[in-house]
């Protein structure tokens, strides 16, 4: 089966600056793939090269088996792109925006109106089809642009930071829409984001991009599992544990470190959710009383820090967007 997206040694240089540095990548058909990295990591440049919007300095890129360099028009015909900037025309209605792009893609007249209607229904904008886009909120514009990116039934959809600048509610609407698209169509989705929770919630696999290179690749769970001792278990005891008990815990399988302050035990472990019941059982067997217990699970933020040595949190994260550890 032909891969939906393939890159081999893909490189882009702007003068002396290397924006994308020998990237090798394969995204299978039907996959929901995430490119995760901070602003300036090279994600957008990578996508733009894939979409034939930017010349390739060296290397190869294929979309749906079509070579980007030799047949850019062929690639654009099977590719839907939703750029990071809001690109719908403000002075046109939602319907006109859709209709004109359908014409750009050569969608036959007989299918055009039906396709526009179907997609506007799907993104919940059919009732607003006659409104000028200038009256739309950012979230509505983004939904329209996602619909527009699907007007020609592409095989691959590139979404470049689709929720940037949106409020948490709008972000979740977009997420639901993307999950729905993924289920409804034989569509490969490549999502570029610097929101960790977004990648975690939506993507089958994630590539962490830093300084133009892919530094880690795998499913969110695989990536998390590659970071040793990154779950934190907190256990509240009625009495402070004796020192020999701490030594026993430190030696237990899966435990990386143990510290105690009064009756509060803190353990760095590999797989906290699985280890917690056994630890409670073991502590209970020594006669100690367990008053509380929680697992602070590793997030992609921790994964990112592990692989790049720096944090991905930045000023552009939307207010209320959870990005740190998740307590279960």
């Amino acid at each position: 089966m032909t891969a939906a997206i393939e890159a081999r040694g893909l490189t882009k240089r702007f003068g002396s600056v290397t924006a994308v540095d020998h990237v090798d990548l394969t995204v299978e058909a039907g996959e929901f793939f995430g490119l995760l990295g901070p602003n300036g990591a090279g994600k957008t440049t990578l996508v733009r090269m894939m979409a034939g919007l930017m010349s390739i300095t060296s290397g190869e890129a294929r979309v749906a088996g079509i070579d980007v360099r030799s047949d850019p028009d062929g690639v654009r015909a099977v590719l839907g792109v939703v750029p990071q900037a809001l690109t719908s025309d403000l002075d046109l209605t939602a319907y006109e925006n859709m209709d004109i792009y359908a014409r750009y893609f050569g969608v036959p007249r007989a299918r055009r109106a039906r396709r526009v209607e179907e997609l506007l229904h799907r993104v919940g904008l059919w009732d607003r089809r006659k409104d000028l886009v200038k009256k739309f909120s950012g979230g509505m514009r983004r939904r329209l642009e996602i619909a527009r990116g699907l007007i020609h039934k592409p095989r691959v959809l590139f979404l470049d930071e689709p929720t940037i600048g949106l409020d948490p509610q709008s972000r979740h609407v977009i997420w639901d829409l993307l999950r729905d698209l993924r289920q409804g169509d034989a569509l490969t989705i490549s999502l570029t984001t610097h929101y960790l929770d977004e990648a975690d919630a939506l993507c089958d696999r994630v590539a962490i991009v830093d300084a133009g290179r892919i530094v880690a690749l795998g499913s969110p769970a695989e990536l998390k599992a590659r970071v040793p001792g990154s779950d934190t278990i907190s256990i509240g005891l009625a009495e402070p544990p004796p020192p020999e008990r701490l030594a026993e815990l430190r030696a237990a399988a899966g435990v990386r470190d143990v510290s105690a302050e009064d009756g509060e035990l803190t353990l760095r472990v590999d797989d906290g959710a699985r280890l917690l019941p056994r630890l409670i059982e073991d502590i209970g067997a020594t006669g100690a009383t367990v008053r509380s217990a929680s697992v602070d699970r590793i997030s992609l933020e921790d994964v990112f820090i592990h692989f790049t040595g720096k944090s991905l949190r930045d000023e552009s994260a939307p207010r209320g967007a959870p990005q740190g550890r998740r307590v279960v």
Binding site: L53, R76, P83, L92, I100, Y104
Partner: protein, 371 residues
Amino acid sequence: MGKVWAVMKRDLLRMLRNPMVLLSAIALPLVYLLILGNSLQGPLKGLSLGVVAQDQGPETRRLLGALQAVEHGPGTVKLVRLDDVDLGMKRLHDGDLAGLLVVPPRFSSDLERGVAASAGLFVDNVNAVASSAVEGAVQAALPAIERPLARYELHLGPPEVRPQEIYPRVDYDASLIPGVVVMSIFMATMIAGAFNMVMDRFLGVHEAYLSTPLRRWHINVGVLMSGTAITCVTSAVVLAVGLLATGVRVHGGVAGYALVFAVVVLTGLGMLAMSMVLLGRAGHPRVVGLVNGFLNIILFFPSGALYPIESFPAWLRAFAHVNPEMHAVAALKAVLFRGGDIEAATRHVLFLAGFCAVMLLVSTLTTKRTL
């Protein structure tokens, strides 16, 4: 052509949804017509000429009578009677007067006695055009005096030359119509074509349509066609208003109208394509505004719309001959004022067609298809 039409439709809809911009493209050239028509009129009028008559004799009365005839006829001067030379000189220096004529005592009696007499004409020669006009008006009044003056000698009986105009008289206001129509074409090119492309780039909107299978020529031709359609509408309105206001009509019947249409379409398309070549890759709309403002001046003034290009220095004349606006103005003049001189107009239209073809080709080749 479906994709070209889609590009054109998008561009047109965006411009039509901003009617103030379109109205400006129509109104501004008409304001130019109004301003130019009233500020750069051919013969100067109403120049204040102070007159201090220290002599009340018959020759002085004849001279003043002749000057009054100029005042009430061509209106070149407006006479201001003064009693005091010093006051007249002060007003001349203050800029209140364009000239001061002083008729000294015994002016008439000296002339009657056959003695050479002189009158003083002081002119504000800072404004060369106005001072020449005042001198001309006084010269025109001198024949009223039957005796020679010392300063302005009267030569009676030279052969008279009566100019014969070969075309119906063209008022100054009417003569501006071709220039104003061409200006309206240029102004429409300023709000369409390259401006829209650069605005798309500036806003990042272009990334979306560059991600579609549109080809370079689809984008270029679609944008140019929408700009040309806008150009046709705005210049047709400006032309119609100009014709109605001045009473000029299009000569040459259907051929005349066809030539006017060809001039508008070819000039509009050619200018839009030229703008695309020069500015299509600009990164900021301000650059387009700045350069277009500059182009408007350097193309309009050597177009022959205001001044005959024959009086230009050789280098500027050479530039004028390759200036599309010059050919557009000349073709419109031929159709509007030269009784529908189709042959003369056709020559200029052929130049415009060639210019248009070259610019269309170059703009298509240079349109940027990537970000």
